[in-house]
Structure formats: C-alpha cells, structure tokens
Symmetry: C2
C-alpha cells in the first residue's frame, strides 16, 4: 500500500504514545462515517464487514499469486526513451518495505529489449584461453554445486539525472535503478575450473543473447573471487527481463556488468574493449579524460520514507526509513540528519546486515511542523563515508553521468509536502 497517509491518519498528541487517542473515544470515532466514506461505516466494528459475511475466493484461486488489486499503483515505470526496446524501468522504492525487492518490480535496463529464450535450446559457450572449451545446457548448469547470496544490484546510471539539479520528483525516479534479491547459481570459478584456464589468461568476456549482444570485460581475479552464473532469483527461476534463463551476477559492481541472457564466456589476456565499456559506461572527468572500467559501486544511502511525493499529516511521530548499501561490503553505520546536515544522529540498522546487500535503516523522528530537510549518510566497513553532492562535484565536475552516490536531500515544507531539493 502506498505509504502516503490518508485523511484518517491522526497526529501524535502525546510523548508517551506513538499515535495518541483517548481510549473508547477512539473506538467511537472509528465508527463515525467520514466525508466521502459513507459506505465505510458498514464495514467498521461492531458491524461485520461485507467481506466477512460471505465466503471468499476459493483456495488456490490464483495458482500463481499476484498482488491485491488495491496495489496496482506499485509497478515499475519506464523512463521515456526514443526506442521502446532501449532504456530503463524503475523500482517503486517509495512503496516497498524491508530489503528484498519483489521480483515483479525489480528494475530493468536493456539495450535491445527482453528476448524470450527457450531454456531447452539455450546454451552457454565457454571458450578462449581454456584447455577444454565447453557448451553448457541449462540442465548442466543447474547440476553443478550451487550457491545462494542476497546482494543489491544498482545501475551505474542510478541518480544520474539529478547530477546538476534535483529534477526527479520521487525516489522511484531518482534511485529506482536499485534492487536487492536472493540470487542462486553456480560460481563462475567452478565453470572456469571445469574448462581449465590457460596460462596468460587475465580477462573474461561475458556476452548476452539479447539483440544488442551486450558484452563486458571482467578481470579474471574478480571472476575467480565471487562472480556467479545465476539462474534463480528470490527462490524461482529468473524473470525474462532479469536474464532468463541465465545471467551473470557480479557482486558490488555496476549492474550492466552482470550480463543478462548469458550466452558466451570467453577467456583472454586483455580486456575486449566492447562498445559498452568504451562508448558507454565510462566517466568523463573535468579534464576531458574518460575513466574506463569504473565498475565499483561506492557506499550510498537514500531515505525512502518520507520521500518526494509523500505528504506528512501534521506535526508528530514519523519513522524515517531508508536503504543503505556498498560495493565494498557491509554497511557499518547510517547517520540521519533532520536539519539539513547540521547535526547527525545514528540510525538503527535492521539485522542481518549482509555484505553487498541493501540494509534497511530506521530513525524515529518527531516533526515539529517547521520546514526542514532530511538526509542520510552511509558509512561502510571499509570506513568510506558517502559524500555530499558538493564533494562529488568538486572531484568530478559536471561532465559525469554515472556513479552519483551523493547524499540525497528531501525537503519538508510547512504543510508537510516532501520534495527533492539540493542543499
């Protein structure tokens, strides 16, 4: 359910209680019809609601379940782009809870659309500087020893539109190229061991079976460390737009390296200099030099409630809540400021705090009704501190589009409206 309060949300009126109301009076108030809700009274206690007075939907009414119709607003949104098969769709972070992103709303990025691949016909080719080139069926891949990991996935272009000014209206628009799932697959190191890597091997090419043939080069050391060849996501087989039937997953690195619809793995002695790592996905620095192979996702955080488009219903208690993550490992601490960065206090982290996974943070706040700005700041286990926007711009100028991990500011207006601001 959208977390935007309705007119029925009552403000806090006591320090002792979160949502203060005077005993039976509250119960009585609950029974009174409200403007525009004449029908509601029929369903309020002590009346027995309509849905209790008759049998519900049959058991297994949906053999594969779906969200309630009332939640139909909780969907991905496509960012406008010239071609229907090129672009992104964004995760509705403002409507989500916890840390697992439901597979139905995991963000999408594709350069040639989503291919619909028959898993019985699909093959993954492993060749190049190996002793035994191999061709894997899906049954082969699933038969290998498997691993399961919960990791975030973030596009390097996440928050890129807000580099100069805060144009995004919601956290879905600003930070929605971000998801976190449970991934299951076989370690790429296991497949490379099966093929036998030849002396001199130093890089690995991964290529997708989509129409764009998106491909990236990855250092062999990373491949032997923690890269997975993944077939399952959140317990079930990958969704088509997430790479069905098999994708690469490169923990802590920008999403485009985790090649979807994986078709080919080639081992070589140098990077392959593909289009997506030369013409694209490089960082243009102030001196005109483009940095290549900037895969790493630094520590970042964002408040998801309250965030752009939400509206607070008057002074009182609110739980500020958001997400923090780092390509370097675990989140060590998240600080929250409710006064535009003048003072910071430590937020509570939801356990378990997992490496390279979204971490939910929460911060109790009593709003006094005055305009202010909310911010969050992540610190990871390496000691890295999420920078302010000014620090980021000082270092990297205005040419950049990727890897914007600056502190996000949400302005709270006197009336309670929340909007994207820069301070």
């Amino acid at each position: 359910m959208p977390r935007i309060g309705t007119q029925e949300t009552r403000p806090v009126d006591s320090r002792r209680h979160f949502i203060g109301r005077a005993g039976l009076a509250a119960l009585a108030a609950g029974l009174a019809p409200r403007p525009g809700a004449a029908q509601a009274a029929d369903n309020l206690p002590p009346a027995v609601p309509a849905w209790t007075r008759s049998q519900g939907e049959a058991v297994n009414w949906r053999p594969y379940g779906l969200p309630a119709d009332f939640e139909k607003g909780v969907v991905k949104i496509k960012r406008p782009s010239p071609l229907p098969t090129e672009g992104v769709s964004l995760t509705p972070l403002q409507h989500l809870h916890g840390t697992i992103t439901p597979s139905g709303v995991v963000f999408e990025r594709s350069h040639g659309g989503t291919p619909l691949i028959d898993p019985q016909q699909h093959r993954v080719m492993l060749h190049g500087l190996v002793k035994r080139p191999l061709l894997f069926t899906m049954d082969d891949l699933v038969r290998f020893p498997s691993q399961t990991r919960i990791h975030f996935l973030e596009c390097s272009g996440n928050t890129s539109r807000d580099w100069r000014s805060p144009v995004s209206k919601t956290v879905q628009e600003s930070h929605g190229l971000l998801s976190c799932c449970e991934w299951t697959g076989v370690a790429l190191s296991t497949l490379l061991e099966e093929a036998g890597v030849q002396p001199g091997a130093a890089w690995v090419l991964a290529e997708g079976a989509d129409a764009s043939g998106t491909s990236r080069s990855i250092p062999l050391a990373k491949c032997l460390d923690d890269v997975l060849v993944v077939y399952a996501q959140n317990g079930e087989m990958l969704r088509p737009e997430q790479g069905y039937p098999v994708r690469l997953f490169v923990p802590g690195w920008e999403g485009n390296v985790s090649i979807k619809w994986l078709r080919r793995i080639k081992v070589g002695d140098a990077p392959f200099m593909t289009r997506q790592e030369t013409a694209r996905y490089t960082d243009l620095m102030p001196d005109g030099i483009a940095r290549e192979f900037t895969w790493f996702m630094e520590a970042k955080s964002v408040i998801t409630y309250p965030s752009g488009g939400h509206e607070l219903r008057g002074p009182g208690f609110y739980e500020v809540s958001g997400l923090a993550w780092s390509g370097a490992g675990r989140i060590r601490r998240v600080d929250v400021s409710v006064d535009a960065g003048r003072t910071w206090r430590q937020a509570q982290l939801q356990e378990p705090v997992l490496t390279r996974a979204l971490t939910r943070f929460r911060f109790p706040w009593r709003w006094d009704g005055a305009p202010t700005v909310l911010q969050s700041r992540a610190i990871d286990e390496s000691g890295y501190v999420q920078p302010t926007r000014a620090q980021l711009v000082q270092l990297r100028g205005y040419n950049s589009r990727y890897h914007n991990n600056a502190i996000q500011s949400w302005g709270i207006a006197a009336g309670g409206k929340v909007s994207n601001v820069q301070v």
Copy 2:
C-alpha cells in the same frame, strides 16, 4: 525451471570434473541436432539464435513482472477438499532454489476462502483488558516503528498425510505447507503498549476478518516477545491469500496461529478456547488424551533435490540439496545419509543461517547407480535432533495428524527414479 534432467544432461565421467566432456568434442556435439530437436540446431553456437536476431519485448513490457511462460508448471497445487473455500494449496519446493519463497507460490490455508479487503476501510480493533481500547487504520499501523524479519511459516498439518504410509508422490505434496519470507510490520508489543495492558492480562485473542473468523489464543508473554502485526511480505504488501492487508505473524509456531486478515486483538486473563484450538489443531495421543496448544514447530528438514518424481540420469555427480528449519532458533547442523540411515555426514549450510528461517543445505554426492535411500536430519541450536519416523510413532502412536517432523526418506531406484519411501 524444473530440475528434472532432460536427455541432454550428460553423466559425470571423471573424478576431476563435475560434468566431464572432452574439450572441443563437446562443442561439436552441441551443434549436432538431437532426436526431436531439429529446430534447436538453428539456435546453437555458432548459429545466432532466433531471439538474438530481432529486438526483444519492450522495456517495461510488464510493469509488474511475471515468470517466463516456460515456468508455468511452477505453481501451487490445491489438495482436493469438499469445499472450494476450505483447504490448502501447496508450495512447489521441488522447483525452488535458495531459501526465500516467492510470494506467488507461498502455500495457502484457509477455512472460508480469501476475502478481498479494502485497506482504506479495514480496521484492527484492540480491546479487552487494556486501559485504552484502540481502533487502527492501515495508515496508523504503517506509521508505527517497524521491524523486518526473515522467518519460515509451516502449517502444523505439513507432512500429516504421510504419518502412516508414504502416500505423497512429491515433496510439494509431502512438505509443501512450508514457506519462508521476509516479513515487515509493527511489533504487537508496541500496539499493546500503546493501549496499556491491564493487571491480570495473560492471553491474547487474534481474530481474522475472513468468513470463518478464524481465531486463536496466544499467551501474552509470546505476544510481548516476538509477535509481529505484519503488512508486508518479501518487500511488498501482503498478497490477498496471505492476509492482505494485515496479519499476525508468530515466529516459530504453527501457521494457523499467525491469523490472516487480522481484525481483532482482545486481551484476556485466560485462553479463549476457540473452535480452532479445541475441535481442531490438537494432538490426539495414544491414550486418547488430546494435547492442546501445541503451537511449537520442532526442528525438521527435507531433501528437495532429488525428491519424489525426479529422475537421475545415470551414475555420477549430484548435488543433494534441501531445507532445514526449527521453531527453537537457528539450525546448528544438518546430516545427510545416502545409505538409508546407516552412515551420516555433515552437509554444508548456506550462510546466513537465520533464526526460525529456512536454511538451505547442500551435500555433494556421486551416485554409483545402485538403489539406495537418501535422508536428512536437522539439529537445532537447542541440541534437538530431528527424530526418525519410528521414534515419533513410538511416542505419539497413530492418532496424530499434526506436527509430523520425522526424517523423510527418498528412495533411488536402479534406473534413477526417485520416490517417497519409509525405512
């Protein structure tokens, strides 16, 4: 994708490699058309597959994503029952990976069907031995401080049909009343504190808004310990059949206590002796005495691959994989036997091992092609050891239906067929 191997899965032929094949020969073999797969060759390397030769589905083709059409067999199955709105549907554990159960296939149990509740009209009433009776809107509940936990949910009737003889054909039939999700909500203790519990209070009644008005009594101590009032599951709002818009969640206890479609919480000084805790959900012992309030789910495990209905493709390497869980806390160890319980060896546990959550275990196995029986045995952090079926029957006789946590046996026939057996 179903993990049943196709004819293209090749057996292990070497001790060094999991799936041995001779280099380029393997690549060449991959190109040869196979019986009944004449079309496949067009899509195998070096041919460019059909789905690469044209643009795929548009970005955001499904604003709310769904599984691939090739996965349409991965669904819940309803167990036959006299009434369409009374009964269970079962989770397809044989097709799942990792530990998170996708919300689409989380098992169902309902006594009056699934009500379709308007969250704007829904109220939760908290009354009885409290200082201030309260009526909560959904907006009220979401506004309270929240918590997120990953926990299993198991029906006390899981595996009940196999008490006397192994009638279930698959692990979905035998153990499919089992799921594990990330749950987000407000602690029941927070709501009780808000209302103020009166002296003498000792029990809490939870009642659902479904047509059956399913209700259970829970000791106040448990409610103040770790019970949640949950509105989100795996990151999004609860699915209708899982209690939308709000349910109780009682960690480690039998599923029926986690009242769905939560409508009423009443505090009292004694158990309320509802139908579901007197006529139902009691354990009839050999002496004819029925034990009541047997909420606790003891340690249990089951091998999900290979399991009933699977078929091994000849001798060679297989990764035996399954799930273990305990209402008492963390799983400490899982042992696997590949010789009908004569010898046991320790399986690998997938980290993180969370309290009262499904834990995935894995065990590498080279099958020699001879008939045998596979078993798994869970030990939890309290030291409790999952019993054999004989031990359970010795203690509880044959009157019982609920809380069958016996060791499960899967027979492997000479040809590789896997079936449910008792040893």
